[in-house]
């Protein structure tokens, strides 16, 4: 299946957010590792201010490498990165105070408590006002529901608690942009819900959220924009609405008169018509479903059942990234 928008050609630009500018913008961003393997291949990300941007892709498609470049942790082979209007890595010191990040899972000192770990990160932040440190840390812990376990050593935390502490670290300061790499990894359903609510709440307050995930239903529920990676290339980037518009909605008529129905569907200008004796189906295109039903009835087709099927994001995702189960790269 050919990607709807081939890499390298102009893609639909996401509509600008409230600020009118982009929170993250990359141009031709490329990372070639020393072995010669291209992990990220000329991608042009455009994340509008205020968006909740779902960054999708199979394992090994270059999502984390991209996020690391956005944060200045690894250096691009070529191309440029701007985060919150500042070039990264050269001006990372100006960009990063506005960015909270969770990269490839939480990482803390095992023999320090959750609170002590946050205190350490807070102490490292030159922009953090010392007198507020205690309050900031308590609020961040409270926000992720870790207040009760704040004094426990990190090594005794469960996976979900660790993930929460990672999110708390990202929320130590008010942020304009959050980059969350698989934020619900290891969380129970309750925790997953909370993270979704948290993201929604932050987004409502105007925080831009850039979230990588492999949980498609999650992205479908949370995100206003979506980008899809495949073997290092950005094969799709648009708003969710534009993505939905690309989806081929299929109507199916259950009827004895399937051949007649097929003719009606063809007359209406529907495409990709299929017919199997007991039913006929076609891609809806610009027509409204009720028009189709009316036309069928008018043509005397005995309609037993009528269904409008919208493909789930999962199907589109698989169309974009390929069917195979193998990791790419």
């Amino acid at each position: 299946m050919k990607p709807p928008v081939p890499a390298g050609e102009p893609r639909p630009q996401p509509p600008s957010g409230a600020g009118g500018s982009l929170a993250i913008e990359t141009a031709g961003l490329t990372k070639r590792f020393r072995g010669g393997q291209v992990a990220v291949d000329r991608i042009d990300l455009a994340v509008p201010n205020g968006a909740v941007y779902g960054f999708l892709g199979p394992n090994g498609s270059g999502k984390t490498t991209t996020i690391r470049m956005l944060l200045g942790l690894i250096f691009a082979t070529s191309g440029s990165v701007q985060v919150l209007g500042h070039l990264v890595p050269s001006r990372a010191a100006r960009a990063l105070p506005g960015v909270g990040a969770l990269v490839e899972g939480p990482a803390f000192h095992p023999y320090l408590s959750g609170r002590a770990n946050l205190a350490r990160l807070d102490a490292a932040d030159l922009s953090a006002y010392r007198g507020d440190s205690r309050r900031r840390i308590s609020e961040a812990l409270e926000r992720v529901g870790l207040s009760a376990a704040a004094g426990k050593r990190y090594r005794n935390y469960s996976l979900g608690m660790r993930q929460r502490l990672g999110i708390a670290a990202a929320l130590l300061q008010p942020r304009q942009l959050l980059m969350l790499d698989e934020p619900t990894n290891g969380l129970d359903p309750q925790g997953t819900r909370e993270v979704r609510h948290l993201v929604a709440e932050l987004a409502r307050d105007g925080t831009t959220v850039f979230v990588s995930s492999h949980l498609l239903s999650e992205v479908e529920q949370m995100c206003s924009h979506v980008g899809v990676m495949r073997t290092g290339a950005l094969v799709w980037q648009s708003s969710m609405a534009d993505l939905a518009a690309q989806q081929k909605v299929r109507v199916t008529v259950e009827t004895q008169d399937s051949v007649v129905a097929k003719g009606v569907l063809a007359d209406l200008g529907l495409t990709e018509i299929a017919e199997d004796g007991a039913s006929a189906s076609a891609v809806l295109g610009a027509r409204a479903p009720e028009q189709v039903v009316a036309a069928l009835v008018a043509a005397g087709v005995g309609v037993r059942g009528f269904a409008v099927a919208k493909p789930a994001l999962e199907e589109i995702f698989v169309q974009l990234t390929g069917e195979g189960f193998d990791v790419s790269g």
Binding site: R68, L73, F75, L121, L126
Partner: protein, 288 residues
């Protein structure tokens, strides 16, 4: 989550000189000093002068003409500190330094905490300088522990008062303590030179144990090379050659000649290896 709730300090990069941030340095020193293993190292170091002092006390009547330093212990307790420092400087102090410096960058990389420090953001240069200063504090702390424990046991078991130096002349107790401080400072600077090598090694790997072992191996190899007279041509280039060059401090008149030479060598080591560490760390992909 409005920005108005939280006061913000001015951006770090705004000034003419980048700010180091005392809170991070204190936090780093706290991390080193609170670590159970490091506390154990300090306890072990405190035990060394205690063992020396006790042994000399028990053996004192017979062993009157032992080594110059150790023989002086029975005249003045301050020599327990000097003797203990001579004992720990060649191997034990470098070992303690290697253990702590090996963790600096490699340890954080291994835990993954390095990436979170960098996105705070902590500039890479600032992180490296802070880490190195914290290790410097550790170098001083280890040498001081030996000296103070030595004084405590020395004064408990042996006479105090006038200090008879190796040259046979006498100096006051205050003068003696002054000379002890010079030796402690010198030992710390020597260890800082070894720490600089360790810091560089620590930027090369994500395995802290490897960085520790490599640093210690380098320090010991240098000791071995210094022990081979045929290699005297390279000896001036090896930091181990200078480790114990503070003998003049215990003589009258007080001469800093040997000391100065050693200090310059240590500073050169710090300059070269810190630069290498900086060059490596500021250009390296942090993918841990």
């Amino acid at each position: 989550m409005s920005a108005a709730e939280t006061r913000r300090m001015p951006a770090g990069a705004a000034g003419p000189l980048p700010r180091l941030g005392g809170r991070l340095l204190l936090s780093e020193i706290g991390m080193v000093m609170r670590r159970r293993r490091n506390q154990l190292i300090l306890v072990t170091f405190a035990a060394i002068p205690i063992i020396i002092g006790t042994a000399v006390k028990l053996a004192a009547p017979s062993g009157s003409d032992a080594g110059a330093l150790i023989g002086n212990i029975t005249h003045n307790g301050i020599f327990v500190s000097f003797t203990a420092l001579v004992v720990v400087i060649p191997i034990f102090l470098p070992m303690a330094v290697a253990v702590v410096v090996g963790e600096t960058v490699a340890g954080e990389a291994n835990l993954g905490t390095l990436r979170y420090l960098l996105v705070v953001p902590v500039g890479r240069t600032r992180l490296l300088v802070t880490k190195f200063l914290a290790v410097g504090f550790w170098c001083l702390a280890t040498a001081l522990t030996v000296a103070i424990a030595g004084l405590a046991i020395g004064f408990a078991l042996f006479p105090r008062g006038k200090v008879t130096l190796l040259s046979g002349t006498e100096t006051s107790m205050v003068g003696g303590l002054g000379r002890l401080s010079v030796v402690v400072g010198y030992a710390a600077l020597m260890m800082l030179a070894i720490a600089a090598m360790g810091l560089f090694i620590s930027t090369l790997t994500e395995v802290p144990i490897a960085a520790m072992a490599a640093t210690l191996a380098v320090a010991i190899t240098m000791q071995v090379l210094v022990a081979i007279p045929q290699l005297h041509a390279v000896h001036p280039w090896l930091i181990s050659r200078y480790l114990l060059d503070f003998g003049d401090v215990l003589r009258d008149p007080l001469s800093f000649a040997g000391l100065t030479h050693g200090c310059l060598a240590a500073l050169a080591y710090v300059g070269v290896f810190f630069s290498l560490a900086w060059a490596r760390f500021t250009t390296k992909d942090v993918s841990s």
